[in-house]
């Protein structure tokens, strides 16, 4: 079996597992919608306000919903022992981790990103803005998954691991939030927003390239 087929088999396996547990994905989506709903209740339903805060609020809500899903990345595999089996196979651990990242992103982050435009419309965002919201989320969520995946591997099996994960990962993800919501805000200000999008893409490349290796190293520690 080649490395690429091994990668593919991990992706298929994790997607199948996610499909069997589709409730988990729905919980994340519901959380996203709920957080986005709370802001108009707390601040007031004035359309001009909502238009102004919409991009930032939706990005923060998406970031938090993604963070909520991160502990699931390795948790169940670790609990039932299949993570150890996966670590024992002859292929590089980083390839296995990259496969899990890809499947996790497809199963958890893509549905969130696809739901975001709907909420954007509820906030009164014009089409140019919610399209940019979708694009920035699709570019930004891989960073959340991969960089957060390193944090998930580091905190695997620790007391209060989920809270610790948030403390570790949120400061590191500040740039993603800034450029993601900044791209939408730039569109609102009449610019193209491509500068922010390019920076987001550059960070995504760096994170996707380096994170699997670091997460693999952290996972081996957690298992030993």
């Amino acid at each position: 079996m080649s490395v690429i087929r091994f990668f593919g088999s991990i992706v298929v396996r994790d997607l199948l597992l996610a499909w069997r547990q589709r409730g988990d994905v729905l919980v994340g989506l519901m959380f996203f919608v709920l957080v986005a709903t709370l802001f108009p209740l707390a601040i007031g339903p004035e359309p001009a306000w909502l238009l102004r805060i919409g991009p930032g609020v939706l990005w923060v809500a998406a970031l938090l919903a993604n963070l909520l899903a991160l502990p699931r990345l390795f948790q169940s595999d670790w609990q039932d022992g299949s993570l150890e089996q996966l670590l024992l196979n002859p292929f590089p651990v980083s390839v296995m981790v990259a496969g899990k990242f890809a499947a996790h992103w497809l199963a958890s982050s893509v549905p969130l990103a696809l739901a975001a435009p709907l909420l954007g419309i509820q906030y009164g965002l014009p089409s140019a803005q919610w399209l940019m919201l979708l694009a920035s989320l699709l570019l930004g969520t891989p960073i959340i998954t991969t960089l957060g995946g390193v944090g998930a591997a580091l905190t695997l099996g620790l007391r209060q691991g989920e809270v610790l994960l948030a403390l570790l990962v949120l400061p590191l993800l500040a740039p993603v939030l800034i450029f993601g919501s900044g791209a939408v805000a730039a569109v609102a200000a009449g610019q193209s927003g491509m500068a922010e999008l390019s920076l987001l893409a550059a960070m995504m490349c760096a994170s996707v390239f380096c994170s699997p290796w670091l997460a693999a190293r952290a996972l081996r520690l957690a298992i030993e």
């Binding site: 905190t155 610790l164 403390l167 570790l168 400061p171 500040a174 805000a185 520690l221």
Partner: protein
């Protein structure tokens, strides 16, 4: 991994990387660095508060700069040093370098907190507000949280080996992210509101600069002394069951 010849040549290089040889060395070095920190701080404070003139625009309120700037420098510098030891630990698996990183983190967090506090004390009379979401302030706050995350992670792992390696990986991720955070916050700030608060007005008189440099050196010496003290405690905790720790005069005296 190592061939016999390289082991012999590396014995010299790594002589003090063993906790048992580093512990007494650190013990001898601490009084020197503490004394240096004290002397430099006294000289810096004296020049800064007694000799340096009042600022043309800010009066005497500017004098908190002698605490604010050194702590800000150290907060950023210590993270880089921490990452340096972490890389050494990840590559050569020397135990002491991970302990150094863990000993540095609380001092770094303390420096970041002091920088934020002195900054807000300075900001209230000068800008009329305790806190602005300025680029420098926000990135320092995030740096403070990065230190706290590192400390929380290494403290919550019971297995020492895993704690060392996890901390090293985290600070490696952090050191690549700190410049990204710094510049992103900077651009975010310039995009949304003009950076009106970063202009300092007058250029600095050479006496003021001298006092600030002396305080900076004092903060450096203080950080070294504190880190060495903390690393000695960490060494004792880790090696409590070894023979050389049992034979230390201070440990033996406690137990009898």
């Amino acid at each position: 991994m190592q061939t016999p010849t390289s082991a012999r040549s590396s014995r010299h290089w790594f002589h003090f990387s063993a906790p048992s040889t580093f512990y007494p060395l650190a013990g001898r070095a601490i009084p020197w660095f503490s004394a240096l920190a004290l002397v430099l701080a006294l000289a810096g404070l004296w020049i800064g508060f007694a000799i340096a003139p009042s600022d043309a625009q800010q009066g005497d309120g500017y004098r908190i700069i002698y605490l604010h700037v050194p702590t800000s420098w150290m907060a950023m510098f210590i993270y880089v040093v921490m990452a340096f030891w972490s890389v050494i630990h990840l590559v050569w698996k020397t135990r002491l370098s991970a302990l150094m990183a863990q000993a540095l983190a609380p001092t770094g967090a303390w420096m970041a907190l002091m920088s934020l506090l002195t900054g807000s004390l300075w900001g209230k009379p000068m800008w009329g507000t305790w806190w602005v979401w300025d680029a420098r302030l926000t990135s320092m706050l995030l740096l403070f949280f990065l230190y706290l995350g590192f400390i929380a992670l290494t403290r919550s792992i019971d297995d020492p080996d895993r704690a060392d390696q996890a901390g090293s990986i985290l600070s490696l991720v952090g050191v690549f992210n700190v410049p990204v955070i710094y510049f992103s916050v900077y651009w975010w700030n310039t995009l949304h509101q003009g950076a009106s608060v970063s202009s300092r007005g007058s250029s600095m008189a050479s006496v003021m600069l001298l006092a600030m440099l002396l305080m900076g050196l004092a903060a450096w010496m203080y950080a070294i002394a504190m880190t060495l003290r903390r690393v000695r405690v960490l060494i004792l905790q880790r090696e409590a069951n070894t023979r050389w720790v049992q034979e230390l005069t201070e440990v033996a005296a406690k137990e009898s």
